[in-house]
Symmetry: C2
Subunit: 310 residues, 2 copies
């Protein structure tokens, strides 16, 4: 039996997992992300933690296929990051540095892309090799898998689908400086925005008028049969479905996985996205499967481990 | 010195090239595409032509790295086509059949994607590994390269960028059944349509009122300083530039290559596309290089050869 490590570096904690090659998680744990001093301790802390774990488990370095690391920043195929606001890093080759620290082969990727790979391996995209994952959280992130491999891109910024323009008539600015980005309609914040606008523009009765308005309360109201909430979900789904139809023409996926906080609404979400998708998708892309992400916070460590198994 | 073959199957002729591994074309020729009898002779005709050529050149099979074939249809990574209107083929595994016929390793791809690979290897995208190619002909086709490899997709339909929606308000139907596809504005036919609409909507003087209106005459008029033609080019470029900006957010290319008949207008085309692109592109994708395709009709055989060298 061979092993590998999957690491997911976040701004507060680093998640670490020891995997068997068949995908079974043997152990997972967390350490603090020490971002002080330009994050100089982050990689050494990880290396030390991994080495301790090997010793504890009685596993030799030779039994470890590699270390996969997801970082919250654009990162090139060669492991190079330019700057990462969250970690304090300036220019750095993460792959080279970790290999130097551990003597173990290391693969790196952007965290959103790596999480998508995790979902393809063990989660909502199981069995597929061509996949789009869209993560609906505070913002909209994403990851694209082509032939089972991460679409990294020239600057390590592949899969940034939150900033596809879906409304050329939008007058409110997105955080990125553009107008009409998908993120303005399909993130948790975007859904709240759509909901508030709709509540203001009509007198229609809705349970949403009685409490806080956010992505969760909107989809709770949808489940309870609230008509106004349904209209908000239709609007959200149209923007997301149309954007995914456009993407699919270029990417030709077999599955589209929806993850992030908003996806906790569950299966009720799917038809709101799938119906407008089908309305707009090119004929070759009509038979895409829509699925929900399944791995939650483990997607990152799973995808990271998978990178070194490929 | 090793050799390989690059084959580009079209509905009328098959283009064939004998390449040295360094990219030099040693010889190229054409044979007729016999589409009768459900195209059953096409692959045997090619195999025979290749074998004859090897004999004539005194090259042994062992000196041939492989055969690359571009076909005018969606084709999976495994070489499987479902149906090809142009060639009469029904279900067929092109790769397996050619390997059976020749005993030489074969790689296959969609012709537009293969042409893009050719441009990356020897043409407008030389030196790049992440590239979007858009082909502006009667329709709008495309090919996407990720890390130097063709984005094939789940159904072999990757890179179909002509059917990205760029105008959700469009009321005229595209050939694909949707409304507002890129093809309706950026193909040769699309440019003619934009030009005619603009000529009808204004009394403004233009040399375009004196002769035939098509993509060529529009860009000829642009070069001659015609103001109305400039406005048409601005409209064309805005649709194309915005679509490419959207694509770039997902693909993260280092170069965008513009090919097809419309690109014969030359460098005058570039700023019309690049300016709106930059206006809309995500910050990580601002520094993309725009280039014109360079290989013309040879792009297909070049890309096909490259497939077997990778």
């Amino acid at each position: 039996m061979k092993y590998c490590f999957g690491i997911d570096i976040g701004g507060t904690t680093v998640k670490l997992g020891l995997f068997q090659e068949d995908g079974k998680i043997r152990d997972k744990w967390e350490i603090k992300t020490r971002i002080e001093e330009k994050g100089r301790n982050i990689l050494p802390d990880i290396a030390k933690s991994l080495m301790n774990r090997l010793e504890k488990e009685g596993i030799s370095k030779e039994e470890v296929t590699g270390i996969g690391i997801g970082v919250p920043a654009p990162i090139t195929e060669e492991g190079f990051v330019k700057s990462t606001a969250n970690l304090g890093w300036e220019e750095k080759n993460v792959k080279a540095e970790m290999e130097e620290l551990t003597g173990i082969r290391t693969a790196t990727g952007n965290d959103a892309n790596v999480a998508a790979l995790g979902e393809m391996w063990l989660g909502g995209g199981r069995g597929c090799k061509n996949m789009i994952m869209v993560t609906l959280g505070t913002g909209v992130g994403g990851g694209i898998l082509i032939g089972g491999r991460i679409l990294t891109g020239a600057h390590g910024a592949g899969g940034e689908i939150g900033h596809l323009c879906v409304n050329y008539g939008e007058t409110e600015k997105c955080g990125c400086g553009n107008y009409g980005c998908l993120e303005q309609y399909a993130s948790a914040t975007g859904i709240t925005r759509l909901a508030k606008k709709r509540l203001e523009s009509t007198e229609q009765d809705s349970t949403l008028r009685k409490g806080p308005v956010n992505a969760k309360t909107v989809f709770d109201a949808v489940k309870a049969g609230d008509r106004l909430a349904d209209e908000i979900a239709v609007e959200f789904g149209r923007y997301l479905g149309y954007a995914l139809a456009n993407l699919a023409a270029a990417i030709d996926p077999s599955v589209i996985v929806i993850g992030g906080g908003v996806s906790k609404a569950g299966k009720v979400l799917i038809p709101y996205v799938e119906t407008p998708y089908k309305e707009r998708a090119f004929f070759a892309n009509q038979d895409v499967t829509f699925a929900l992400a399944e791995l939650g916070n483990d997607a990152g460590i799973c995808g990271a481990a998978k990178m070194v198994l490929d």
